[in-house]
């Protein structure tokens, strides 16, 4: 099998000097794919994603983007390398307008950003209507769209979403998932952490079930949904 586009390979480590949270955990994603990390509470899902984004101290393991070892880079440098990250909370600039949020997303770019902004507005039409409104005044689902749009403004080569549907209603969740599929159709590989395992696995090309910081099950979304053990232990039958 050829090298995946983005891979966190055999990652072991924890926050600061704390105990290890991840144990030889491997997660990867390829262009056009949606990879989803699911697992019970405290399994290290968000931690695994933060590890790939450089917010964790590694004891061993590497992170490679398009074959290049980026394990030593800071999160800021990884953004420049083409990684877009949407944190779970505090992921927008609340007092700034939607349009300003998108502009700030493109802060590192020196070229014309209008085309990318149009693409984002095309993906999230509601943002175009609300572009002069302060992002903090929007609904939860709309704020998540701003957050994803902000990350897309750098024209990332890979997009990482930390629980994009946390705290939104089921209807909004479905809509967000639709939008995420649409983003993925533009060819950007998407890696996301999800609480809503069943829905997430339904749209996943690749699923990772983590238990206590280790890879417990790996497969396509369908395989995992049909896997008797995954269903029993974790999806609730």
């Amino acid at each position: 099998m050829s090298e995946p586009f983005l891979i966190g390979d055999m990652m072991t480590g924890g926050y600061g000097r704390g105990p290890d949270i991840l144990h030889e955990c491997t997660i990867s994603v390829n262009p056009g794919e949606i990879a989803v990390i699911v697992g019970p509470n405290g399994a290290g899902k968000s931690t695994a994603m933060k590890a790939i984004f450089g917010m964790l101290n590694f004891r061993s393991g590497t992170v490679r983007l398009a074959g290049e070892d980026i394990t030593a880079l800071s999160p800021q440098d990884r953004v420049i390398k083409g990684m877009g990250f949407v944190p779970q909370v505090r992921n927008i600039f609340p007092s700034m307008t939607v349009e300003e949020n998108l502009e700030m997303g493109a802060f590192i770019r020196k070229d014309d950003i209008r085309e990318t902004m149009e693409q984002v507005y095309h993906l999230f039409p509601i943002l175009k209507d609300k572009r002069r409104q302060a992002a903090g005044e929007l609904s939860g689902g709309q704020r998540q769209q701003v957050a994803v749009g902000r990350a897309l403004m750098t024209k990332p080569k890979v997009l990482m979403l930390d629980e994009p549907t946390a705290g939104v209603s089921p209807i909004v969740m479905d809509e967000l998932f639709d939008r995420i599929i649409e983003v993925s159709r533009t060819g950007i590989p998407i890696l996301m952490v999800e609480q809503n395992a069943r829905q997430a696995l339904e749209i996943a090309d690749r699923g990772y079930v983590l238990v206590q910081g280790r890879n417990a099950h790996t497969g396509t979304g369908k395989e995992l949904l049909n896997d008797a053990e995954v269903r029993r232990s974790f999806l609730g039958g």
């Binding site: 953004v79 420049i80 944190p87 600039f93 007092s95 502009e103 802060f107």
Partner: protein, 336 residues
């Protein structure tokens, strides 16, 4: 006629002075609020920053005067002002490099930075007194009045005079220009927007590739500009004395808190609220009321709610009331 006379007295002793004082406080409070929003601490050295900027401007004004350079009817201090701002900016950035940056890197709690700023305040306090002494300095020159009380009486035939001093009008005009430029900068330029982004959500700003050290440096220079302009305008309008500037800290903080710390619009509104409260509470209303009320109701006493010596009590009371009942201020700011 009585009504008009009363109005003239009110404008002369309350409206105009309070407006120019309010503009000075607003400029001061803008500086405090910017530091709070971006560097996340209350800067107690702000009053003495104003004093430092004014000191440099005064020294340059004197040397300009001795060289025979003047600004026609306007005060020479306006010519010296840009140099004063530059010197203050260098002092603030230097202080940041030497002191604040150390604590920022250690991610010190805001309360520690507040205490650090108290230390900086004492040092700046000393520097200013060292350079210019503790006494009163008068450095206003140029045309003193736009309308003098006697001209006004002759023009209108009213019994009461109305004087409009150059410095009062200058204060308001300069404040309007400075605020307009500041808001344009914060809302329209890339650097200004990155400062607001940094103030809104520091972590996300870092993720977006905004350079924190640059934001901090630009902030200090803007604060230097606001503080020096506020200090020079106050000094022209009244007079310059280091201790008075130290005392200005209280009404300035009251203004920033009333408006909502971290909110620039709030700082401006707060400045005027505090200035008008201070002036109206300490003003003797006898004359105005004598004109406006029927003779039978004319007051015997001065109708002064508080002696002017207590004017700081007004800002203090406002500060406490706001903190008790609306800690985030009139406009949406951060709570302290």
């Amino acid at each position: 006629m009585d009504f008009l006379n009363g109005l003239v007295v009110l404008a002369n002793f309350v409206l105009i002075p309070a407006t120019s004082y309010g503009a000075q406080l607003a400029l001061g409070a803008l500086g405090v609020t910017l530091i709070y929003g971006i560097l996340r601490f209350s800067n107690f050295a702000h009053g003495d920053t104003m004093a430092f900027g004014t000191t440099i401007t005064i020294l340059l004004t004197w040397s300009f005067q001795s060289m025979g350079i003047s600004f026609g009817p306007l005060p020479t201090a306006l010519l010296a002002l840009p140099f004063g701002i530059l010197a203050t900016g260098l002092l603030l950035v230097g202080t940041d490099r030497a002191v604040y940056r150390f604590y920022r890197r250690k991610k010190a709690a805001p309360v520690i930075l507040v205490i650090v700023s108290v230390g900086v305040m004492f040092i700046m306090n000393g520097i200013v007194r060292f350079i210019i002494g503790v006494g009163d300095q008068n450095f206003a020159d140029g045309e003193r009045f736009i309308i003098s009380a006697r001209d006004f009486k002759e023009m209108t035939g009213l019994a009461e005079g109305f004087a409009l001093r150059t410095t009062q009008v200058l204060t308001i005009v300069v404040a309007v220009i400075v605020v307009a430029v500041l808001f344009w900068f914060l809302n329209k330029t890339r650097t200004g927007k990155s400062m607001r982004a940094f103030s809104d959500n520091e972590d996300l700003a870092l993720l977006s590739g905004i350079n924190p050290e640059r934001v901090v440096m630009v902030t200090w220079f803007i604060v230097a500009g606001l503080a020096t302009v506020a200090g020079v305008l106050y000094g022209l309008d009244k007079s310059f004395k280091p201790f008075t500037y130290f005392q200005l800290l209280l009404p300035i903080f009251a203004s920033a808190v009333v408006g909502g710390l971290g909110n620039p619009l709030g700082a401006i509104a707060g400045g005027f609220v505090v200035a008008f409260s201070e002036v109206t509470v300490t003003y003797a209303w006898k004359k105005v009321l004598t004109y406006w009320l029927p003779d039978s109701l004319a007051p015997d006493g001065l109708v002064q709610l508080m002696s002017t010596d207590y004017k700081f009590a007004v800002s203090f009371a406002i500060l406490i009331i706001v903190l008790l009942f609306k800690p985030t201020g009139l406009f949406k700011g951060q709570s302290v």
